[in-house]
């Protein structure tokens, strides 16, 4: 048995060696500070990629590729310090098959000590965990990638346990339901965030997904209303249910995505498409070469196309055959040079071959990223109606001109700026020159210089106000003679706006001549009448004076009455003279400053002597002075008061009041007589107007008094008006510009 231990030691040694040699765990033993490799099993040689020849070499000589890595230093530290070193998943770069490769190891450097505690070697054991580490890295990467994908897709994830109603979801998911990050959210709370209009659909979809008999893929779009921010978001939720062996759903998980923008974009696009489709113009899209891909409804109808399919043709087919030259040489050329073409071209109806003239625009559509032309978009307006209308209008214009050329008056139209743009044949004849020399501003040169300023002002005023234009002026004819014309024009209004003026010039020269003759006659006649009246008056007065002197008072009185009648006659003659003066614009005024109230008082006092029935009541307020013709103003007031007396035979009071108001002095004469019907009120100021009616004709007068009075007041820069109630009486007033109170008092 003495050998036995030896043998067994030998045997044990072998067993031990074999064990080490064959161990799948890499083991190495390095001796001395220089780290001579005493032992390296197959596994460690395999790791190193070396063979047994390295045994007996130093560690650094055997594995020069480890230079630069920390192992030599680590081994030396362990040897010198006697403290073991353990590494977990450390990276080791090794030369395998001539290539440096990355490995991960758990390894230990354990110091081996003798009985004295001195280190004599280091035992190296290691475990290759490369695969584990790499796998874990790959997993982490994959997870990262998923997260990244979720993030970039703006996807949130959710995971629901229908049994416990516990829900796990990420922050984005919470955000889409309007929760703040970190909020703890119960399932019921999440459900309450679904838009009331969508909650029904969501429930149905969920039921179908978690029903083991159906197991439908969960995919739905719905709106959420943010629980905190109250924002409405469109989301798309996708997911599936998982079932246990008993067929009970134990997990329902998936993703949710914000599609608010997409929905909005989509809506915009839908609206745009709808707009395009409902547009009354032809709209089409085609590729760069002109192959049509889309035509809107109006376009299909206009072209006689049955369907969108039918529309997929080359654009040349849309045109009349003779337009293809234009398409090739003008349209396409311009599109590619400038990116856009606009103009008129003739389309061709696909069924009837009818020519359809259109005003069209085609432009290139560019790819937003590459900037390369991607296709063409075209819009075209059917011009058939417009052209027909224009023809109809031209025909009408021709008819209009034909008719107007035969009219015996000069007829013209003018633009809103007052320039003539048409004159008829008659006008051309009158002026003896071509129409183009009359239209525009040229007409002004034919107007008599004396008449032009007034004409220019009246026409300008009408152009501004839109009031009908009327003016009398002399126009020079082709022989250089001026003839009186009455110009009148009315605005042609369309949609509340003046678009044209239609005017006429009527020859009133003969009329004017006769009028002038009449005025001249009246003027001379009045003058001639005055001469005998003057002698009659003188004789009457001297006769009256003689009779008085002789004591023949009754006879003298009769002669005085005669004189009063002569005065009446004088006034009538005066009226006739005034009318002729007014009509010929020769009414003269001798203006001076005078006290208005004082002048009125004088006149009223004179008139009070002429009536016994009526009392003239004065009601004066301070008026100051006026600059006017005192005699004329007296004449007007006399006229008003004699009228008041004349037309109020059954009352006994006439009120005359004066006042100063807004830089005007105003006098009113109020009677309580027969009054004037409302519709006749403005007529009383017209020439020769006389009250009419059953009894009114019995009132005397030439019908000139109020006309003369109002003309006088008008020419004095004032105004005259009447307020009246039939049967109750009238109040005639006139106002004159007042003088400066301070200066002229």
């Amino acid at each position: 048995m003495s050998n036995e231990p030896h043998l067994s030691q030998q045997e044990n040694d072998n067993i031990f060696r074999t064990l080490i040699e064959e161990s799948p765990t890499p083991i190495g033993l390095y001796v001395g500070r220089e780290m001579v490799i005493r032992l390296a099993n197959k596994s460690i040689l395999n790791v190193w990629g070396k063979d047994e020849s390295i045994i007996g070499k130093t560690f650094s000589a055997a594995l020069p590729e480890l230079e630069g890595q920390p192992f030599f230093q680590l081994l030396d530290d362990v040897y010198t310090s006697g403290i073991a070193y353990e590494a977990t998943e450390d990276r080791v770069d090794l030369l395998v098959n001539g290539q440096m490769q990355i490995f991960y190891f758990n390894f230990t450097y354990k110091p081996l000590k003798n009985a004295n505690g001195e280190v004599w070697g280091v035992l190296n054991t290691a475990a290759d965990v490369t695969e584990l580490v790499v796998t874990r890295q790959k997993l982490a990467e994959a997870d990262e990638r998923v997260r990244f994908a979720l993030d970039s897709a703006e996807l949130g994830t959710w995971d629901l346990n229908p049994i416990t109603e516990e829900v796990i979801w990420d922050e984005r998911c919470q955000e889409l339901f309007g929760f703040s990050p970190g909020d703890h959210v119960a399932y019921s709370e999440a459900l309450s965030c679904i838009h009331p209009n969508d909650v029904g659909n969501v429930n149905i979809e969920v039921m179908q997904a978690v029903n083991p008999a159906i197991r439908k893929q969960y995919d739905i779009k719905y709106r959420t209303i943010g629980i905190n921010d109250k924002r409405v978001r469109w989301v798309r939720a996708k997911g599936r249910a998982y079932f246990n062996e008993e067929g009970i759903c134990n997990r329902f998980a998936g993703t949710v995505q914000d599609i608010t923008r997409e929905v909005a974009d989509n809506e915009e696009q839908q609206k745009l498409l709808k707009l395009i489709d409902n547009s009354s113009d032809f709209i089409s899209l085609s590729d760069v070469d002109g192959n049509v891909t889309y035509v809107n409804a109006a376009g299909l109808k206009m072209m006689g196309l049955e369907s969108l399919q039918d529309a997929m043709r080359h654009n040349s087919e849309y045109l009349m055959a003779e337009e293809n030259f234009k398409l090739k040489n003008e349209i396409n050329k311009q599109i590619f040079e400038k990116g856009i073409w606009s103009g008129e071209v003739n389309y061709r109806h696909f069924k009837t071959s009818e020519k359809i003239p259109v005003a069209g625009t085609t432009m290139l559509v560019y790819d937003p990223i590459s900037g390369e032309p991607q296709g063409r978009a075209s819009i075209a307006r059917d011009l058939r109606r417009e052209i027909a209308d224009k023809h109809a209008l031209t025909d009408q214009v021709k008819q209009f001109e034909f008719v107007t050329d035969f009219m015996p008056v000069q007829l013209w139209t003018a633009q809103t700026d007052g320039q003539l743009d048409y004159v008829n044949e008659r006008t051309v004849d009158y002026f003896g020159m071509e129409a183009e020399n009359i239209v525009g501003p040229a007409w002004q040169t034919f107007v008599h210089p004396d008449d032009f300023p007034g004409c220019f002002e009246a026409w300008g005023s009408s152009l501004v106000t839109g009031e009908p234009y009327q003016f009398e002026f002399r126009l020079r004819d082709k022989n250089g003679e001026y003839k009186w014309h009455l110009a009148r024009a009315l605005p042609f209004i369309s949609n509340g706006e003046i678009i044209k003026w239609f005017g006429t010039n009527t020859d009133i020269d003969e009329q004017k001549r006769l009028e002038r003759q009449k005025d001249d006659f009246l003027g001379i006649a009045s003058h001639e009448l005055k001469t005998p009246v003057t002698s009659i008056k003188a004789y009457a007065q001297v006769l009256g004076a003689m009779l008085s002197k002789e004591g023949e008072e009754r006879k003298a009185e009769m002669v005085l009455k005669m004189d009063a009648q002569v005065n009446r006659l004088t006034n009538l003659i005066g009226d006739l003279l005034d009318v002729t003066k007014i009509n010929s614009g020769r009414l003269q005024f001798n203006k001076s400053w005078f006290d208005f109230n004082e002048a009125i008082r004088e006149t009223v006092e004179d008139l009070q002597h002429t009536t016994v029935r009526h009392i003239l009541v004065l009601d004066f307020k301070e008026t100051g002075k006026v600059f006017s013709d005192k005699d004329r103003i007296g004449q007007v007031l006399t006229n008003l008061i004699t009228n008041a007396i004349k037309y109020s035979p059954h009352s006994d009071q006439i009120i005359i009041n004066t006042k100063r108001e807004n830089n005007e002095v105003v006098v009113c004469v109020q009677d309580f007589g027969i009054g004037i019907p409302g519709d006749k009120k403005d007529k009383v100021f017209e020439q020769f107007y006389r009250v009419s009616g059953s009894k009114q004709h019995t009132f005397p007068g030439l019908g000139l008094g109020l006309y003369i009075s109002s003309e006088i007041i008008k020419r004095e820069g004032g105004r005259m008006w009447v307020n009246s109630v039939e049967g109750k009486g009238s109040t005639f007033c006139f106002a004159l510009p007042a003088g400066d109170v301070q200066k002229n008092k």
Binding site: K530, P532, V533, T534, S535, I536, A538, V542
Partner: protein
Amino acid sequence: MSEKNKKIMIADDDPGIVDAVEMILEFEGYEVTSTVDGSTVLDMKDELPDLLLLDIWMSGEDGRDICKKLKQTPGIKNIPVIMISASRDIKESAIAAGADDFLAKPFEMNELLEKIKNLTK
């Protein structure tokens, strides 16, 4: 009354007026001479009138021209002139022609007398 001896000259182409005014003035005690021919007005020689009543339109003669001439002629230029016309619009030009006053036809007797009185004081 010394005024009653004043001499008034009337120049008017209408004999009716001349006659009637003559009667008035004589009735009032004036001495009156008259002419219906405008061109003879300035021929006055012997006794100069104290006042001239001058019509403006006198069949071919304009009273204003006569007045102007008169007012430029030494010896007679101080004779007061009242111009008479059927047209009241003419008053201003009458005054401009040198007339001392103006009367529109037909006139009131008293008005005429007053004006004469004023100018012959």
